[in-house]
Symmetry: C2
């Protein structure tokens, strides 16, 4: 493990990184400018060194993405572990899922790379475990517990993707721009043939100016209601 400090000073000095700084700057690059901005050369410039140097820390770009993703999930895991336990395990599951959802909404690239994590080890597994421990407090079979956690993770990731799908890359802009963008979609939908698209017409007003978190909470509650019924409480 490398652990040295970058000293600020005059003159051309040799750069000195660390695994921490590499992953942190990679995540920062993803946050600020999106996935296509994360290149070895751009990352190297941010670190103040050469692109080839990064290969001492990661074997290739896949590993860079995996490690960066897991690094960020580590912060999500920390947030989840800070949540207090209540009497109701399902309420706790809801709070955990909301924490995970917020993290994905704040970092849209996370949804895309959440699935890429081939090594189901590290923080993703720990997060999975943390969710699962709540199901241990419910009266369920092992199989039902397994399916319950899969369902919750599925709702979180799927809804986050479904919501992020509409927004291309204007997330840097204000919320007002987002509303206008959604409004233009709504307008297009309103002009569709009502006979052919009755459902779209039914919900277009709900879509226009809707709140993402509300939508997610409603989707999650459907699943949690089903789970609560299954647990017989």
């Amino acid at each position: 493990m490398a652990r040295q400090q970058n000293r600020a000073g005059a003159g051309r000095r040799r750069a000195s990184h660390s695994m921490e700084s590499v992953l942190a700057q990679a995540a920062a690059l993803l946050d600020e400018a999106g996935p296509q901005a994360l290149t070895f050369r751009a990352l190297a410039e941010r670190l103040g060194g050469g692109a080839a140097s990064i290969y001492w820390y990661v074997a290739n770009k896949d590993e860079l993405l995996d490690r960066t993703t897991d690094h960020v999930i580590g912060t999500v895991l920390a947030d989840v572990e800070k949540l207090p336990d209540t009497d109701d395990p399902i309420d706790d599951l809801r709070a955990m899922a909301l924490t995970l959802f917020d993290a994905i909404v704040a970092r849209p690239w996370l949804a895309a790379y959440f699935m890429r994590n081939t090594d189901v080890q590290g923080n993703a597994l720990r997060l999975y475990e943390k969710l699962g421990q709540q199901t241990l407090r419910l009266d369920l079979t092992a199989r039902q517990r397994f399916h319950a956690v899969s369902a919750i993770v599925g709702v979180v990731v799927g809804t986050a993707i479904d919501l992020g799908r509409v927004l291309p890359e204007e997330l840097l802009d204000s919320a007002a721009d987002r509303d206008e963008y959604l409004g233009r979609f709504a307008q297009t939908w309103r002009e569709l043939d009502p006979a052919e698209f009755p459902f779209v017409h039914e919900i277009v007003d709900e879509f226009d100016g809707h709140d993402d978190v509300d939508q997610f909470r409603a989707a999650l509650d459907l699943t949690l209601t089903g789970l609560r019924r299954q647990a017989g409480s």
Copy 2:
């Protein structure tokens, strides 16, 4: 629109494509060798022409992916429209969701590109409409209908991604290889500290040798149970 036939014959002939053939071959390339195999040069070779020719049909790779995705979703839509209507709209929703899920499992790249479809037009919208029409048969508010469809799409996409996450690219291999691969994961999990990972130990036997479709059906049923309760039937 171009619509000509490739005549097999001796001598160097000039290639002649069509939008249909371009999208079909792009989809075939994705199916057979995965996303990283879809390059303009590889696609051109399959079509028997030059890479630059493809730019007459699509403006760039983004549009190629969008159009290819929508093209494939068109086949899914056709499958969904073939399903018979029953008395129970929730059963119909389940059948539609299963059809979509099957399509994504057969084409893992679909899950990744489902969200990329910025133009929420075309077949994706029609599929959304088709699902939504079933909710019109339920006693719900417009907002509840909107959330219900979001939840179902979320469960389908999310669970498909969550399942496809473990498998890297050995999908070309047999089901036996898949079981062995999952078995190795299960073995790693069994060696974790039971005090720190009680949930993983609880469900590892369920995970080992589990069936993806079963898992999805269970996750979906949780959501549908919640929906049925909401509709008050």
